[in-house]
Each structure stands twice: as C-alpha cells, then as structure tokens.
C-alpha cells in the first residue's frame, strides 16, 4: 500500500486525487483474463486505486441442470467445472455420492483415482504456471510446460478416451480399469515430466527478471486469506499447511507419503514455488500409488449401483431386471445430506448433496475454490501498478468453469 499512500499524501486534496482517477475495464475477453471475467479497474496514472471484479460470464447453470438430471448424468457436467483438472471434479462428485450411499470404492479403484487425480492436479498446475509465466514474458517456459501437459493428457486419453471431457468415474468405482501397459507408460511420462521440471526450474526460479515481476506482488496476509476462505495453493503460499488430502485424509491418501509445501509471505512468487513443489510431490504420490496398486475389482459389486455385466443381463433374470431398473430409474441414494470435501486443483472443492431418496437430486452444490480468490482480487491488487494485475491474476488461477458454474 505504500505507493498508494505516497500518492495520496502528495495529492493536494481529496478532490484533486479523485479527479485524476480513470476507469479502465480489463476483460471480459482479454488475453490475460484466462477465461471471461471483467476487472473494472480505477487507475491513478498507473497505480491501481480501485478494482471490482465482475463474474458470471460463463454461468451455465450447473446446479440447476444437475438438479433436473439423474445422479449419474451429473458426472459429465463435472468435467466442465474445472476444465484443466476434470478428473479431480469427477472424483470429487463420485466420492460425494458414495458418501451419500455410505459405501466405498474398492481399493484398486481408489489407487487408480489417486493416480489419475494427481495427474490432473499436475496438468492444472502446469497450465496455471505456464500461462502465468507466458503473460509476463517467459514464453519458452509456457511451451515446455504445455509440452509436459501434453504427455500427461495422452495418459488421460489412454485411460478415459478423452483429453478434457473425461467422464471417467462412476459411483462405487471407475468406468474402466487400467489399460494394458498403462503403468509403464506412466513411468516413462513421469520421467519426461521430471526432466522438463528440472529444466524449467533452472530457467525461471532464479531468474531476476521473473522474480522482479512476482516477488512481493499480490501479497495477502494469513488472516485475510483465512477470512476470505482461501484454500489450496493460495492458502499454503501464505504459510498455512492446510491440504484437504491430509486434513480430511479421504481416499487412500493416508497411506501415501507426501509433503505439504508452504510459502512464507503469500506473494505471487510463493504461489509459484508452492505449485512447482506440488507438482514434484504429486509425481511422488503417483509413483507410490503405482507401486502399491492392488489387484482386485475396479468397481463395487453392490447391486443397483453399477450396471450389471452383460453376461448377467443376457444370462439371468436378476441381471436383466437390474439393468432395466438402472436404465429406467437410475440411482437411488438414501435420503440425507452430505458435504464431501476434496482437494481440487485450486483448493477445497466440496460437493454438498441433498437427496430425498426419490432418485432425483434435490440439491447439487459445488463449492468453487477460486470464487474466493477472485473476490479477494481488489485486496491483492490495490496499491500495485496496472502491469501487476497480470502476474497476480495469473497466480490466482481463475478457472471460469468452476468460478461461474
């Protein structure tokens, strides 16, 4: 705030100060705005004196649409929430419905989910860091990170058949088991990723030009971060080691060994470092999960949760009836309400579901982690210069699909 205070002190009177304020709208369709969001910025010279984010440009009515669908039909919608880590949204929603049922997926399914979820987290962080670095001039870094992301997207494609619209999980398991040779492909891709990470680390982490743009920019204090409901890398960059994977130990994360990187000052540079370290930690989690991958089913055998095998559908009357009822009526989670927190790419992605037992969702609510970050944009930007909006907004990692739902 020092630059702002200095400017206010030098201006002769309050009236004089406000007369020189100019309003500039950044976005909604601006290359640095990552999705579509408008930042109405008030500038005094190049100094930001006021900012107001305006969101909702990508509102598709996820919640309304979900509440007018069957439970299973919501899974493809969750792909479109955080579209750089769609698998994490799939997993979050499926685990929420499983909690509503009071069941757990088989261990093999959980380990596969951990692998795919962490791959998604890495693609999320790679996209965020790559784009943020490109916007402040590090174009090579962006290309290399997108190359690394491409290696991982190929794995996602191998597993799910799609790069983005994965629609992969089901209630009580996954739609597919690991394809043949997946784990060796995985090891190969991870070693390539590690190579790229090492190169990019050398390229940027101690680069003076880069550090000058991000150090002490967009700082947010611990207290403000908590009050604004921050979570994920943004909160950890402030020095608070809150990670839902550890704090709520869902899935099989308690059997895997990983560190929670934290920053100290909560500026853009800390967020960069935290995300870089999280990519390395996720790589290690994937390796451990691949080593521990148990044999067994990848889908629960609970009746009326999964579609019966085709040999049962055509072979016996129970299978046929189950199949018919699944197709015609869908899932019937028992009446109740649950909140399932999971660690998304951006922070705590929680699903709040209400069921009345009738087979139609009453309420499907997703807590969007980057909602809070965009809300705190004025706090992080006022007092900085207009050029700082770009690294700050880059570090926020706003994902329109998740923000506006």
């Amino acid at each position: 705030m020092t630059a702002l205070q200095a400017r206010m002190a030098t201006s002769k009177s309050g009236a004089d100060f406000s007369a020189s304020v100019m309003t500039i709208e950044i976005g909604p369709a601006h290359p640095a705005m990552h999705g579509i969001v408008r930042l109405t910025t008030q500038l005094d010279g190049e100094l930001i004196v006021g900012m107001e984010p305006e969101i909702g440009y990508l509102h598709r009515g996820f919640e309304k649409e979900s509440e007018n669908s069957k439970w299973i039909q919501v899974i493809p919608y969750t792909d479109r929430l955080n579209y750089v880590s769609p698998l994490l949204c799939n997993i979050g929603y499926s685990m929420a419905v499983e909690k509503l049922y009071g069941i757990e997926a088989p261990r093999r399914a959980e380990f596969t989910r951990v692998i795919m979820g962490e791959i998604s987290r890495i693609t999320d962080h790679l996209t965020c860091l790559g784009a943020a670095a490109m916007e402040i001039g590090a174009f090579t870094f962006f290309l290399w990170f997108i190359k690394a992301r491409e290696y991982l997207y190929e794995l996602v494609e191998e597993m799910t058949g799609a790069r983005l619209t994965t629609n992969w999980t089901r209630f009580g398991g996954n739609s597919m088991d690991l394809p043949d040779g997946f784990l060796s492909d995985l090891a190969d891709r991870l070693s390539k990723l590690e190579g790229i990470m090492e190169e990019c680390d050398k390229l940027l982490t101690r680069n003076k030009i880069f550090i000058d743009r991000v150090k002490d920019v967009g700082t947010i204090s611990k207290e403000d971060a908590l009050s604004y409901g921050f979570s994920g890398p943004m909160l950890r960059a402030c020095g608070i080691p809150f990670d839902v994977r550890r704090a709520d130990a869902y899935s099989v994360y308690d059997e895997l060994d990983f560190e929670i990187p934290v920053g100290s000052t909560g500026d853009c540079f800390d967020r960069f470092l935290v995300r870089m370290e999280e990519i390395r930690q996720s790589t290690s989690i994937i390796k451990q999960a691949a080593d521990k991958m148990p044999e067994g089913p990848f889908m629960t055998d609970e009746r009326m949760l999964h579609y019966p095998d085709k040999k049962d559908v055509y072979g016996n009357i129970e299978g046929l009836i189950d199949h018919f009822k699944m197709v015609m009526e869908g899932h019937h989670p028992p009446a109740g309400e649950i909140y399932m927190p999971t660690e998304g790419g951006n922070g705590e992605m929680g699903f709040y579901l209400v069921s009345d037992g009738s087979g139609d969702p009453v309420r499907v609510r997703m807590r969007p982690p980057c909602f809070n970050f965009v809300q705190a944009m004025p706090l992080m930007t006022v007092g900085h210069y207009v050029a700082d909006i770009v690294p700050i907004f880059g570090s926020v990692n706003m994902i329109g699909g998740e923000l506006d739902r």
């Binding site: 709208e25 009515g61 309304k64 009345d356």
Partner: protein, 186 residues
Amino acid sequence: MSESIKSDEMNADREAGKLTALLKQKFPNDVLDFHAHRSDETVVIERDSLDSVCRFLRDDSRCAFEIMLDITAVDGLEMNMKPRFEMVYHFKSLTHASRIRLKVPLEEDDCRIASISPIWKSADWYERECFDMFGIIFEGHPDLRRILMYEEFEGHPLRKDYPIDKQQPLMELKEIEERHTYGREL
C-alpha cells in the same frame, strides 16, 4: 439393507458430537435440531441467533472455525419441507481439524437472514450468490447485488418453481458509467 442396520445408523446420526453438545449448552433455546448423518456434524439453529452463534464459532477457543467455507440454500418446495427454505453454512477449523454445518430454516414469505460478512469476508460473495439464486435477503450485507446473473434478470433460477427452460430477453450492453456504481467507497 436390514432393519437393524438401518436403526443403528439412525442412532449414530442422533448422537450429539462434541461441537453440537457445546452449542446446545451455550445456546439452549436456539438449537432446534441436530444430526450427524455420515459423520457430518449438523446443527439447526434459530434464525435470530445466527450472528451470535457464528461469532461464538469463530472466537471461542473450543471451536476456532477460521474458515467459512460455503453458504448455500436448499429449496424444499418439492420435498414439502416446512418452512420452504433452509440456509446451509459450512465451516472448517484448522486448529481442531473439525468441520461443522449450520442450518437455518427460513419461511418463504420472510426470506431474510442476518449477513455474516462482517465476521468472515468470504461470506460477502457467497451471500450475493445466494441472493441471486434463491432471492434470500441478507440484512446488513454491504452490497447485495446479483453476481452470476445480470441486473435485469427476473426471478431466482435455483428456486424449484423457476422453470429450467424459461428464456429471458437479451440485454443491450450498457455504458460503462451505468454498469457500475462508482460512488461506492473504495
């Protein structure tokens, strides 16, 4: 599922957790109901006590809920819920690694509730969203406007009586001065 398992589950749901017991002791007249379905501690409270309960949750060392995670509402029109609306708040405590859910029933013809944005900043936008989607008025909110929909939008889309296929006219883009209220305090 056999009946005995079902009733065991029901009993577990009815067991008051530590936080529930604390709230019941502190606000004996305001706690209307509680449950712990799937071990999510849930306390239903009286509307007027929301502010004091929230302050207690944040400031008391036995609670220490630093993060207000989420605010949403449930429209119980199709479930014939009485009263029709229910506010749902989720909190997270890092100190005690605990979570709690507060629920506040709201009458349809009096959808008003105190804003908790003075207590947690994150409530500001969540309350705007809840106002936008459900038409619930948050008293004491500094800037209660629509957030995801546009100003001219009529109705509240997440209410169950709002038809999913209803169309509304496109709006002309307004001039910059009309779009924003710049008189607001920065």
